[in-house]
């Protein structure tokens, strides 16, 4: 059989100049999300196609990570078929519930129109019936709920009422139950945190901070314009100081939405989190602002500029002792719930969607993104077809941007809705993957972290 280097393989520039082993490179196969460090000599053989000169152990490994593939293979077809198999065989049913349309904040980039609407308890049975119907079709092993906004903690009563019903449903089907919440953190007092974790099955929490106080408060203020950073940060500190937090190790991630206006606030926030010792207790990730049915993306950094800044943030995080993840992106066979056959988003109005970007956003109100409403859509069906369910097939047949992208297996296309709106959805990885691979190499060699003494000095400077 004749082999070729996979289209879905990337290699860094040459690293190092050792007299011993000589320079090395990082070789990354996006088909498997695996990376290896190779000698320059092997790189040259791969470039020239001299596979016969590669030792059997190395050849075996290169085939395992699919950096080398059969010459006659249609690689795009392989990638897409794997995605489709994953979607077909998933043993987790995901439901995203938005218990309220209300939020205390008036973030200037938010596309949602908030109202005081709460999900009506009369909808509970309809939600359960929809989930029940899906269990009839497939034997899921897990039921995964995400409490999402507006601000889900403004629907705290609904979370308290619905959780036991959802748990009971999962138990009846011998499925595990787990839930996450995405919150602005304003109401996340230690008592609420303990209830969420101990009584209501929350096993992951995400809070958004858009930089240190100066930067965050300019954009994530209350609807009346009041500052919110200090309150959220105090909640975070109090939660992280709880014995129950340390004992349960509930993952808390801090998301930082970034555009051109607040990019300077990211490093101060990273340093402030570290100064309070939170790098050992939470995770942190920045995220570029995108269109939310509005023009928020027009204030974004260019993708290249964002990717460049992101590398600096990662280096700082590693130096301060944060866990650094995502340097070698793993496979993304299911890009989002929109491409699944079963996951749904339910909002406080009873609307059913298959995309979290759509609820409460005026421009999408009468669009094809609404699959139905709990009031009149039968539990076993939907009123409108699931848009984007054919996303993978389209990538295979339509020859779009993703069809020729080497990052496709570890990206999945990122956001089909964004592409539909002619807004390129490419993540930062596409622009800084080679830098990230180098960072991964340095990180595993202990060359990104500072000593304990240096960390203390950094902390004292803040």
């Amino acid at each position: 059989m004749r082999f070729i280097r996979s289209y879905y393989s990337l290699v860094t520039d040459s690293l190092g100049n050792s007299s011993g082993e000589g320079p090395v490179r990082v070789l990354y196969s996006t088909r498997t999300g695996k990376a290896v460090t190779i000698k320059e000599s092997l790189h040259k053989k791969m470039e020239s196609g001299d596979f016969d000169d590669i030792g059997p152990a190395d050849l075996q490994r290169l085939l395992e990570i699919e950096a080398i593939v059969p010459a006659d293979e249609n690689e795009l077809e392989t990638v897409i078929n794997r995605n489709l198999s994953e979607l077909e065989d998933s043993d987790t049913l995901s439901f995203i519930i938005q218990p309220t349309a209300n939020c205390q904040l008036g973030c200037d980039y938010c596309g949602q129109l908030h109202t005081k609407k709460q999900i009506d308890p009369s909808f509970y049975s309809n939600i359960l019936a929809r989930i029940e119907e899906k269990f009839k079709i497939q034997k899921y092993k897990n039921l995964r709920i995400s409490w999402f906004g507006s601000e889900p903690l403004m629907g705290w009563r609904n979370i308290q009422e619905l959780t036991p019903l959802l748990r009971s449903l999962a138990a009846r089907h011998q499925a595990s139950y787990g839930a996450a919440i995405v919150t602005n953190g304003l109401s996340l007092k230690p008592g609420i945190f303990e209830s969420l974790v101990n009584e209501f099955g929350i096993d992951a929490i995400e809070i958004t901070l858009d930089g240190s106080a100066f930067w965050h408060d300019k954009r994530r203020h209350t609807k009346e314009g009041g500052a919110t950073f200090d309150l959220i940060f105090r909640n975070l500190l109090e939660i992280c100081a709880l014995d129950s937090f340390a004992g349960r190790r509930i993952p808390i991630s801090i998301r930082c939405n970034v555009d051109a206006r607040n990019q300077e606030g990211v490093l101060p926030l990273i340093r402030q989190l570290a100064a309070h010792g939170l790098q050992r207790r939470i995770s942190f990730y920045p995220c570029p602002i995108h269109s939310w049915g509005n023009d928020a993306h027009t204030l974004s950094l260019t993708k290249e500029a964002y990717a460049d800044l992101e590398i600096g943030w990662i280096i700082e995080m590693a130096a301060l002792g944060f866990p650094v993840t995502g340097l070698i992106p793993g496979l993304k066979k299911s890009v989002c719930i929109a491409v699944t056959k079963d996951a749904e988003v339910i909002d406080a109005n009873g609307n059913i969607f298959n995309c979290t970007e759509v609820p409460y956003v005026p421009v999408y109100e009468n669009s094809g993104y609404v699959l139905g409403n709990l009031r009149d859509t039968p539990p076993a069906g939907i009123s409108n077809p699931r848009v984007f369910q054919d996303w993978n097939t389209k990538v295979l047949t339509d020859n779009n941007t993703c069809s020729t992208c080497r990052m496709l297996p570890v990206c999945g296309g990122m956001c089909p809705k964004s592409w539909e709106e002619n807004l390129p959805a490419c993540p930062s990885n596409k622009f800084n993957i080679k830098d990230k691979l180098v960072l991964a190499y340095l990180y595993t060699r202990g060359m990104l972290t500072t000593t304990e003494e240096e960390s203390i000095l950094v902390n004292q400077e803040i």
Binding site: N17, G20, I311, D435, L437, L439, Y441
Partner: protein
């Protein structure tokens, strides 16, 4: 590598560290003389991340 910070860090690789690193890497691979894959980077990164997570203090300070 376009990022200046990376270039600076890579510069550190030009120093004595490079020799130490490469020696350390090659010593972990059996049959080092023949093998041209000197590190399973994914596995090493996974181990490091797991180790970091395990080091999260179980009691508040």
């Amino acid at each position: 590598m376009k990022n200046k910070k990376i270039l600076a860090l890579a510069g550190r690789l030009e120093e004595e560290d490079v020799r130490k690193l490469t020696d350390a890497a090659s010593s972990t691979v059996s049959d080092a003389g023949k093998n041209e894959i000197i590190q399973d980077l994914s596995a090493d990164l996974w181990k490091l991340e797991t180790q970091k997570k395990a080091n999260v203090p179980s009691q508040k300070n």
